[in-house]
């Protein structure tokens, strides 16, 4: 019989084994890919849940104030898109809650009583959202305009509350608290302490602004494309200006919030930061590398900015930055995936901020829209790019957390199901999502082609 000393065993599996015991699973990657795919489909829809209601309401309020029918046409058209995307978000969100149990039963069994409260609250706000979105979208004709606008407010509030709760759970996974580990068992669950951990606020704000960037740039892109094709009616102009103004106001702020989020990671998850930057050795006054790939313990082919990393992560020229070497190899995330995604996100975020500043500057100084076709082409590209940045940001934080599902407490290998057949299930899921994505694009094009309703 081979006996493994207990401390070594614990180091290999993490402090917590989980209430369902050690899983047997040789297709862990398929489980992670399925979860990643499902999240990547759902998160862009969440952006519309966060940001679209206030854009629609803003347009409706403009109509109430000015009496200009174009704003009503716009709000009504957008509200149809909103409920369609909400319907798709309802089903993709349901898939996620099924997957929590189907793919990560040991995670749910072990920590459900710690973080589950967040999802219970999210469930209620989701309910309110579903109810009022139906009232709002189907109630255009038979309610007084003021009352109708009022029914839109709960949609916007519920969208924010719901995303706060889900992000609180994710923040908890990255910065766990609200429970004790005694002899490998999770005990003394304190759900409130778990939910309102110090990691929530920057994650929430970062995601909240990302929601506005994605939704507003995609909507603006639709009207910018119409603009390029010569459709420049008052309706198209209003759609473009409202959406673009939302996006342009948010984009520069996101850069500042991103900096805050980065410093929180530097403080609380030094290994994730080391992976983001490809820093092998703990270094004082560490350099920042742009581009390049990480291999053999250093970044090759990148542009080095001396002291840049210390400066950006700790706002100090000579701050010590912890490298990957501080933890054993089995506790490190895959560096290149995390690094590439992070750099992509930052690069796109910077471009979007510049685009927004250009638009705002021109508007403030000259009081007009840009005339160059290249500006409108950039706006068309900005929507898809914002989605790419969004997904890259989530990959950075989620893959950067690996190999832990609950940071430094439970390994992803401990959380997974013991079920077989995950590769086959992954294949099936890909087919389903491709079909769904195709159908949604088809539907949105169909909605866009409908003639505008005549308002008297």
């Amino acid at each position: 019989m081979i006996s493994i000393p207990l401390p070594d065993l614990l180091a290999a599996i993490g402090p917590v084994t989980g209430r369902l015991g050690h899983p047997v699973q040789d297709q862990l990657l398929a489980a992670r890919d399925m979860q990643a795919l499902s999240l990547s489909v759902h998160i862009p829809l969440v952006c519309f849940g966060i940001a679209f209601p206030s854009m629609v309401l803003f347009s409706e309020l403009l109509w109430l104030r000015t009496g200009n029918r174009v704003y009503r046409q716009l709000a009504k058209r957008w509200s149809k898109v909103m409920i369609t995307l909400f319907a798709v978000g309802v089903v993709t969100g349901t898939i996620l809650s099924f997957e929590f149990g189907l793919l990560w039963p040991n995670f749910m069994a072990t920590f459900g009583d710690v973080f589950g409260l967040g999802f219970a609250l999210e469930g209620f706000s989701f309910f309110v959202e579903a109810i009022f979105i139906a009232i709002y979208v189907y109630g255009w004709e038979r309610m007084s305009p003021r009352l109708h606008a009022l029914t839109g407010i709960p949609i916007a509030v519920a969208g924010v509350v719901g995303s706060l709760m889900v992000i609180a759970v994710n923040a908890w996974m990255n910065h766990p608290s609200g429970f004790d580990v005694v002899a490998g068992q999770v005990v003394h669950a304190r759900p409130l302490a778990a939910l309102f951990n110090s990691f929530v606020w920057h994650e929430l704000l970062h995601m909240y602004l990302a929601g506005y960037l994605v939704a507003a740039f995609i909507v603006a892109g639709v009207y910018a494309a119409a603009w390029l094709r010569g459709r420049r009616t008052h309706y198209h102009r209003a759609g473009l200006v409202i959406a673009l103004t939302f996006a342009a106001l948010v984009a520069p702020v996101q850069v500042l919030v991103g900096d805050w989020a980065g410093r929180e990671v530097a403080k609380n998850q030094p290994t994730k930061l080391a992976a983001i930057e490809g820093l092998q050795d703990t270094t004082k006054g560490a350099a920042l590398h742009l581009g390049g790939i990480f291999s053999d313990g250093k970044v090759k082919y990148g542009i080095a900015i001396p002291h840049g990393l210390s400066l950006i992560a700790f706002h100090s020229f000579d701050a010590k930055v912890q490298g990957l070497d501080a933890v054993p190899a089995r506790d490190r995330p895959p560096v290149n995936v995390v690094r590439l995604c992070f750099q992509t996100m930052v690069g796109i975020g910077t471009l979007l901020a510049l685009l927004g500043l250009f638009y705002l500057g021109l508007w403030l100084r000259r009081g007009r829209l840009p005339r160059s076709v290249w500006f409108y082409r950039a706006v068309v590209a900005a929507g898809p790019l914002a989605v790419v940045a969004l997904i890259c940001g989530w990959i950075t934080t989620e893959v950067g957390r690996q190999p832990w599902i609950v940071y430094h407490v439970m390994r992803t290998t401990q959380a997974v199901t013991s079920s077989g057949g995950l590769n086959a299930a992954y294949g099936g899921l890909v087919v389903v999502y491709v079909a769904l994505a195709g159908a949604v694009v088809w539907l949105l094009r169909r909605l866009a082609k409908q003639p505008l309703e005549v308002v008297h």
Binding site: A87, G93, S97, A120, I135, P191, G421
Partner: protein
């Protein structure tokens, strides 16, 4: 105490989902059996009109059940989800197709598009309640052991008890849906649809009743502890209430009292779901895990109950508003039969 309240919340959620969500799935069955493009066009239009404003809110009851389940009984949730992976995965995929196809069909431009999407919507509307019912049957007949995917992937849901509950879920949804739509047809002043839905309600109600009685015999052979629980005090009360309410519901449909029939039918289903959990007391997973052992610590349970109380305080007036506006016609879509919507192709 706290665990019992949480269990009651789950009963509430399962019942609400079985009644409201079940009716939406039942509408899919009627869509599937409505006949050819021309003959079925009015039934399909009524389905679309009745479901559009409410189906998303109805669906959220499923999420409600899941979140209460995994917060209050995490080990049971992990065990159930991992053993019943096949029916739950099928249900999840069915939910995607049902919701997606229904949302899309309203925008179809040709009758062929509408038919393809409609078929997808209708087929998944049958698969989802069957799979969810079969999963419940697997739990109730004691086929889910505690552990990570510890039960059999197939026999845990393809067994006599599971198939019984699955079929019952499909039929009760069909019945409820026909009753709801008969009431809607009265409101929309469509006498032909009212009559068509009344016939369907009577047929599906009778079939559901027969399936329920036959199901008891199946349970007697396949899940004896559950059967014994259902046929002794206090489970037998639930069975009696369910049988009486079921019969009364059918009588009310016969008498064309559709509004009252809705509530009585909901009561019949509530009696079944609460009877199920009463019958398997004190177990949550029969023969495997008792409620008391499965429950999260009291601190979590009471917070969950508090959150549910606050949530309900917001939810109940909101739902009330939604259904009142729906019943008053404020949210009505126009009734638009498919052969009039696509006049050229239907001929």
């Amino acid at each position: 105490m706290a665990a019992t309240i949480c269990l009651a919340l789950i009963v509430l959620g399962v019942t609400a989902y079985a009644v409201l969500g079940g009716a939406d799935f039942g509408a899919g069955l009627w869509d599937l059996t409505a006949g050819g493009a021309r003959r079925g066009s009015r039934v399909r239009a009524l389905i679309e009109r009745s479901m559009s404003p409410v189906w998303e809110a109805n669906h959220v009851w499923l999420i409600f059940v899941l979140v209460i389940f995994w917060t209050a009984f995490p080990v049971a949730f992990g065990s159930v989800a991992s053993t019943l992976r096949v029916p739950l995965a099928l249900a999840a995929i069915g939910i995607i197709f049902r919701g997606g196809a229904f949302a899309l069909r309203g925008e179809a431009a040709t009758i062929n598009e509408a038919r393809t999407l409609g078929a997808l919507f209708a087929l998944s509307s049958v698969i989802v309640p069957f799979c969810l019912g079969a999963a419940i049957g697997g739990v109730a007949s004691g086929r889910v052991p505690v552990g990570n995917a510890a039960g059999d992937a197939w026999s845990s849901w393809l067994n006599p008890s599971s198939i019984t509950v699955g079929v019952l879920a499909v039929l009760s949804g069909a019945y409820l849906s026909a009753v709801f739509m008969a009431a809607d047809a009265v409101r929309a002043e469509l006498p032909d649809m009212r009559a068509a839905m009344r016939t369907r309600a009577l047929a599906a109600g009778a079939a559901a009743g027969v399936a329920a009685l036959g199901g008891l015999l199946v349970l007697r052979a396949d899940a004896r502890p559950l059967f014994d629980g259902l046929t002794s005090w206090p489970g037998v009360v639930a069975i009696a209430v369910s049988a009486l309410a079921g019969a009364a519901g059918l009588a009310l449909v016969w008498l064309r009292r559709y509004h009252a029939a809705r509530w009585v039918a909901a009561l019949a289903l509530a009696a079944v779901t609460s009877g199920w959990l009463v019958a398997q007391r004190p177990y949550l997973l029969p023969g495997q895990l008792k409620v008391a052992a499965a429950a999260a610590p009291d601190a979590t349970l009471w917070l969950l109950i508090g959150a549910a109380a606050v949530g309900m305080a917001v939810l109940i007036p909101s739902l009330f508003l939604l259904y009142r506006l729906t019943l008053r016609g404020t949210l009505d879509k126009p009734f638009s039969p498919f052969d009039e919507r696509y006049p050229k192709e239907a001929r």
